[in-house]
């Protein structure tokens, strides 16, 4: 017997019979098989890439991202200025170094502008990955106390950094105007670049976030890899500065196509569909691989965190 009622006081026999007959009989009005019903079992990998439930919880995603944004801007005194300070300072430093070295003459745009555009996008990628990878551990109180699709947490962290990018791009446009470059209609195509960038950052972020739950040293290892990533991506240099034969190698880096074509759209240079295609493909691969890994590890989060 499933029902271990020790006494018959509460449920009279007629009622409990009725309950049993319904359960075994017609399944139509059985709540356990209705549309809202939930089955909890040890582990099911059927939902390996569960983006649908993410869409269902989009309001929560929005509120969590909003919370991140509000907290960030309420806590830091400098607020928006802080977001802009990073690319401006790095640009100044790299400009000084590069002008001394005298390697910037073959660029079509002034080097400060060139570097600033790179740092604007890089700052976004960097903070999206960092915020994403720490998000699960930072939200451990949510994970152990309430259920919702866990993917929402790294997603909301990355989405919150999108606002920083908006400010970054605005300042970039201002910088362009200062240098006498009027942004063309091709600026409207920027989402084409931003979407794969976001997917790439999300991919790396989600993967490291899931690992970070179990292996807390990811937090210390990740900055080192991000730094390597920075140097092997054309953030402060252009592919045209590299030796001919290494360009093909560089293009395996999804950020190469993203950064080069980002500048192409900004400064009216020719758009390279090949490198863009590589970027989108690699970014998507990383993204889905990360989500798959995430779902494999997800079930243990609340136990381990």
């Amino acid at each position: 017997m499933l029902t271990k009622y020790s006494t018959g006081e509460l449920i009279n026999p007629a009622e409990s019979n009725q309950a049993h007959s319904q359960e075994s009989g017609n399944g139509e009005n059985d709540l356990l098989t209705g549309k809202d019903s939930i089955v909890i079992e040890s582990s099911n990998f059927i939902s390996s890439v569960d983006l649908i439930s993410l869409w269902k919880c989009r309001e929560l995603l929005y509120f969590l991202a909003l919370r991140d944004v509000k907290i960030r801007y309420k806590q830091t005194l400098l607020g928006i200025a802080w977001v802009l300070l990073q690319p401006i300072v790095t640009t100044t430093i790299f400009t000084t170094i590069f002008l001394r070295l005298g390697t910037s003459q073959d660029l079509t745009v002034p080097y400060p502008l060139f570097a600033f555009s790179g740092f604007t996008l890089w700052t976004f990628i960097n903070s999206a990955i960092t915020n994403c990878s720490g998000s699960l551990v930072n939200h451990s109180n949510l994970i152990t106390k309430v259920y919702f699709p866990r993917l929402i947490i790294p997603f909301s962290a990355a989405l919150a950094t999108l606002l920083d990018l908006v400010f970054g791009l605005t300042s970039l446009v201002i910088a362009m105007l200062i240098y006498g470059i009027v942004p063309g209609w091709r600026m409207l195509l920027l989402p084409l670049i931003i979407v794969p960038t976001l997917l790439l950052a999300l991919g790396i972020g989600i993967f490291t976030a899931a690992l970070n739950v179990k292996y807390r040293d990811v937090k210390y290892i990740l900055p080192f890899f991000i730094q390597i990533f920075f140097f092997i991506s054309p953030v402060f240099y252009s592919l045209s500065m590299l030796p001919e034969e290494s360009v093909a190698l560089w293009q395996f880096n999804p950020l190469t196509g993203i950064l080069e074509n980002f500048r192409a759209l900004l400064f009216g240079l020719p758009f390279d569909f090949y490198s863009f295609g590589v970027s989108v493909t690699v970014s998507l691969l990383i993204f889905f691989a990360a989500i798959y890994t995430f779902h494999r590890l997800e079930d243990d989060f609340a136990d381990v965190i």
Binding site: E23, L31, I38, I40, A302, D303
Partner: protein, 416 residues
Amino acid sequence: MQTVIKVENLSKKFRIGKLRGDEGTLRDLVGNVIKFPFRKRVKNPEAETLWALKDINFEVYQGDTLGIVGGNGAGKSTLLKILSRIIKPTTGRARLGGRVGSLLEVGTGFHQDLTGRENVFLNGAVLGMQRREIEKKFDEIVAFAEIEKFMDTPVKFYSTGMYLRLAFAVAAHLEPDILIVDEVLAVGDAAFQAKCLGKMGEAVGSGRTILFVSHSSMMVEKLCQTALYLKNGKLENYGATKPILAQYEADYELNSAAEAVSRNLPEIEDGEVRFIEWSISNSTAYQAHTIVSRQKAEFEFQLVCRRQIANLRFNFAIQDHDGRPLIVASSVSANKAAAAVGEGTYRLRWTCYLPLQAGFYRLVAEVASADDDTLLDTWRCQPELEILLSPDELIGEQLQGLINIPVKFDLARDVR
């Protein structure tokens, strides 16, 4: 009646004990993969495992209110976490027919820097409410929390009471088909608890299915028709509330004698008199240091004497949290007979009826020599004394005031 929750052979195993030294970090993992690339990586077999739940089977019918009782470590929270989908069972399965809302904590997702308004929306979303739903109930939530004026103030400036009221107000307006509640009611002051109980009572009346975990057999008795008793991860009994609670209390009271809290004292030296522990010999099953308002309470104090005293005097004070004495009792006024002690351990019993409202109080015990009025020992007893209302006195709200007196009202039409 339809089955709305069906749990079949549900078990949950936890690994306890330490991880092996070389598997805690990613660096170790990567290092091991490089050193022994072909070795199959097995989990540390020496790690101890613990079955937090073992082969649990039960079903709950729609509209039932099920109270889950059990001692510490019985698996109550694990069961709730599995049913809330926070953790996965090791084996077995559970089926739930409907939207589930779980309240394992008050104020999940609240952030100190956000305003009350922002937190309501965030917390509502975290608990599974739609934005439209929250907007519709917003005024009601604010009214329930009674903090209209502070909705645009960051919650870090709230008092603990305000914070809890707001957090519970959001949770109380959650309307899932199945509501899962952990001992969240155990926080906050008595007035707040009483209000929450009232709201829970409303939920019970509305035909929702509720799972309610508590230490307090009184709350379970008041709210639940059925109860489930977990003991060491196994389902001990399941059925109508009263007999289950009787069984639980009987089991629990066997252990409650050991619950007396010893005072942390250095070695007692010659010439000293010291209280060493206190307990309530007829405490409720809920906690060893809990009594019911206006019912007989038998306080027991153990004291150690290291000298002879011809005439002892005891004073007891019950104070509120500001240290204001509410009730002071002295052995001098009670009976004039001299209490003489020699060296040894004594047990002192103080019986009284405390007509205080529900809440937490400080109990201070003093012993003095009645002859020359020298104070020998003062102890602010640990833990605090908790006073509860008897189940038939619980109403949806906590009345103001400190004293709880029996009242009777008669209303009759005036025919003159």
